[in-house]
Subunit: 195 residues, 2 copies
């Protein structure tokens, strides 16, 4: 098996989470990687929150890099658990990659969900909270970390068949992301490029 | 000056962010700590996203512990930037503390924002995405990390005067959190207790 990728994302909340996990691990194999998918541990079955926490931390430590599903989850931003893991793997100085089925930038998503007002030079939402307006896909800590870790964010629009909202599994963007990682590792003689 | 606390939170998006930052630093001094507030750097003025990113990372490295405003932001969960920083400081093995002006647990907040359905043994939202149901205040990675780092989450209900929603600055919960940190450091001869 090749380099190990931790597959972070809100996929674990999907009704067909196991199926999506297996599918993503299969795509990883196609590109020469091993995918570590958080749902696979026994801890999820036992349902003990702290055990799941420790199992996910252990998988992150085993991984050579992180691949983060940044598709917005119950908000204009990525899933909170996924973002926690991004911060943690950034701090371990591992390569980080993102993907999303929602090609809009953060400001556009806030605009779609909340009324917008301009106050002074910064756009603000209906609560007068400032909106980050850098043309980035999410909060600057998320996108800044991926950039600094040498990665990129693959965005491929893919509406969910039933709801029409961006697909939470984001399989098309995942495959685009894996292809990009494969090509960059390939150019770098089998290792992740240094940022 | 005493131990340094990194004051993470969505406070930076408030219209009176600087004022709230100064107020929180004042409360830190009252309890014998130095508060590091992210807005204070020059980077925010220049508005360059990557500079803000690096300035926040530098402040986190300087800090002895992190104090996280987990009040929900544009979602049933904490602000994405705040959660990124929590993951990063967890990985640096620093003590972590949380506070919030919303005393509901995560499931209750999802229930208030989305329709709920039960499918099998797990509660699910209207998109059939599973809802974490551990009686915890947010995603298990967030609360698990704070527990493992020896900290707690202080929750004090404090509605915003104008909107009636939980106050984003959460000053009452912040003060309760600082009091708890002070008492625990005091009992531990001036140092943070080991988890």
């Amino acid at each position: 098996m090749g380099l190990k990728l931790y597959l972070a994302g809100p996929d674990v909340f999907l009704p067909n989470a196991s199926e999506i996990g297996l599918r993503k691990q299969e795509i990883c194999r196609t590109y020469g990687f091993e995918g570590l998918f958080p749902l696979n541990g026994d801890a999820t079955v036992r349902g003990e929150a702290l055990e799941i926490f420790h199992a996910n931390c252990a998988l992150m430590r085993q991984a050579d890099a992180g691949v983060f599903n940044l598709t917005p989850f119950r908000s204009p931003s990525a899933d909170a658990g996924t973002v926690f893991e991004l911060g943690s793997m950034f701090c371990s100085q591992k390569p980080l990659y993102g993907y999303t089925s929602d090609p809009r930038d953060y400001r556009e998503r806030v605009e779609a969900a909340f009324e917008l007002t301009e106050q002074g030079s910064r756009p603000r939402d209906r609560n007068a909270y400032a909106i980050e307006n850098f043309g980035w896909r999410d909060n600057l800590m998320i996108i800044g970390a991926i950039q600094e870790a040498g990665g990129t964010v693959a965005a491929v629009a893919e509406p969910d068949g039933e709801t029409g909202t961006p697909s939470l599994s984001a399989l098309a963007a995942f495959e685009a992301c894996l292809r990009a990682i494969h090509n960059s590792v390939d150019r770098n003689r089998g290792e992740f490029p240094q940022p």
